[in-house]
């Protein structure tokens, strides 16, 4: 395949109970925001992209690599996707320290310190997740995903536990980091303002369909 770098090419159908999604998304941008009311299926879309929701059919290609192609039966497992998924509930591993969480999938343990610095969690490295605040936990979860050097980073309502100014500042730094490191970013938010500030391209997920806005 000779797709341009940073190309996101998605054409999938998902039917889960009452939720039916038919999503076509093709973008040359590095930062894409998906907005929409809660319950529209934004998180499900991210789960499909991450590969943890297997009940999707269609096609997903990221940066020229095919992750899903139902026509040929191809499915790349999540552990082979080079995808960073930061779910809305941060889902830190509760039995591991912050440092151990960050190291869990890190390709280079030497980057742990600098990533912790970037996300302002350095003083927390030796704590357990249960001793962190909501915002701290979300930053650690993001750092954990970044350290795997993903091709695609999926952010589900990032830093929802933080006030808006702090949130914009942090996501801005993350976006800069992503751009520097050739990481594509798909961001899900219910706040159009956030999306407008942080993404080059905005899509609206409504009634099971995705539209460019």
């Amino acid at each position: 395949m000779s797709a341009a770098p940073f190309a996101l090419d998605v054409d999938v159908s998902v039917a889960l109970g009452t939720l039916a999604l038919r999503v076509r998304l093709a973008s040359e941008c590095r930062t894409v925001a998906v907005v929409g009311p809660s319950g529209a299926g934004k998180s499900t879309l991210l789960r499909v992209l991450a590969g943890v929701e297997r009940r999707a059919t269609g096609r997903i290609a990221v940066a020229g690599r095919s992750w899903l192609d139902s026509a040929s039966g191809a499915f790349v497992e999540p552990w082979d996707r080079r995808v960073g998924w930061v779910p809305q509930d941060d889902l830190l591993f509760p039995h591991l320290s912050v440092r151990e969480n960050l190291c869990f999938g890190a390709t280079d343990a030497g980057e742990v310190e600098s990533t912790a610095e970037l996300l302002a969690v350095t003083p927390l490295l030796d704590r357990r997740p249960r001793h962190l605040s909501g915002g701290e936990r979300q930053r650690v979860a993001l750092g954990r995903a970044l350290l795997t050097r993903p091709d695609l980073l999926l952010l589900d309502e990032p830093f929802s536990a933080l006030d808006r100014p702090l949130r914009i500042d942090l996501v801005g730094r993350v976006r800069a980091h992503a751009l520097e490191n050739d990481i594509m970013l798909v961001l899900v938010s219910h706040d159009e303002g956030d999306a407008a500030t942080l993404a080059e391209e905005r899509w609206l997920l409504l009634d099971g369909e995705l539209r460019r806005i």
Partner: protein, 504 residues
Amino acid sequence: MHTRKHSRAARAGLIACALALAVAVPAAAQPRPAPDGDEPLLVLAAASLTDVLPEVARLWAASGGAEVRFSFAATSRLAPLALEGSADLLISADREWMDWVVERGGADAAGVVALLGNVLVVVVPADATTTPTGLADLARVDRLALAGESVPAGRYAQAALAAAGVWDAVAPRVVRGESVRSALQWVARGEAGAGIVYRTDVAVQSGVRTAFEIPPGLSPDIVYPAAVLSGAPHAARARELLAFLQSAPARARFAAAGFTLLGTPLSQVAPSGPASPPDPGSALVLSLVVALAATLLGLAPALLLGRVLARRDFPGKTLVTTLVLLPLVLPPVVTGFLLLSLLGSRGALGPALAVAGISVPFTLLAPVIAAVVVGFPLYVLSARGAFEAVDPRLEEVAWTLGSRPRATFVRIVLPLALPGIAAGAVLAFARALGEFGATVVLAGNIEGRTRTIPLAVYALLESPSGGGAAWLLAGASVLLSLLALAGYEMLSRWQRARLEERPR
């Protein structure tokens, strides 16, 4: 509003009815007091007399005697009741318990009569191809079933084998049941090639036949002492009954049932040898070994099944769950019986096990298997709960971080579920320590091999001299159980703390 008032009235009516019933039922259950002098006699009698004594009582009634009520049970259960003061006559199956009653003032030593005797016989399965003709032949049977050494029949049999000079030869083949009846059962089921039981027991058991009677001189005299109790409410008529039991018509009935007739004062009968009570230390060690082995053996299957039940839906899941939980609610004796039917030498899997050289009944395997089976439901339930408590999305996140499912299980799921699994192991261990019913059926009651704490306590309660050791083991049981429950509570807390997600 109206309906509520209505239902309140209805409830009040129900409560009134329940109260009326609660008052009325016990009153109705009380037997109307008999007119003075017509109250029936209460006779406490050894279980082996269940069939013959009511017949004799009818003879007595026909010749003008009073009405008699019987309470049949193992002598070890009856002796304490004899001291309560409401029974008139005690007929014990051995003199040790009668001595115990006399020592506590329950009966007058001079009034104790050696009423009946019994004879030991060697029995073989009804379809046995060879029939032993002497005690020496018993060294050639695969297994020899005896009653436990604290039960008179077990002591008498051992004494007879020793007197015949063959005890050392047969000892390795001896398996002991907790009573004559269980020894008889094993012979009937073919688990033992021969057994030594009372002559009077053979008639009531199908599937066995008598090979020969053991000459009376070889064992201490087998005596059924009888005495009018000191607290007898109807002492005069009880003495009449005791006299009738020694009369010619009664003796004819006893003889027909296979008893020998004594009718002499007990003091003229030679005492039997001392009981050899179970060794509490060996029971304690064996119990710990069995419980530990069962806990370790159950670990892998419990993990596997717990994980599958927690995370997978498949056809027949309800059936599998029900089958796994069955031993939790099934009477343990039934579990033991089913296991024996499955794993015994004549069981469904018996031949296959024999080919593999594995023998389950009476070996150390038997209590371990019984403990695994009864403890397994608790194990699986705990493991399942522990796995269900781990958020599946943690696994999904781990996958996107490059961790494959097996590595994810080891690095994330297992550590998070570990305290819950350990709590299940502790419960299974505790359940294994307490296992009695299934073990006694499948494993017998063999010192050092299958006699765990509960079996030893049971055996000790059969013997009047077993009290001290029984208390020792009871104390050990309580201590171990408390420790296990405390451990369970600690592990459960740890599990909750480990999964705690929210900041404090």
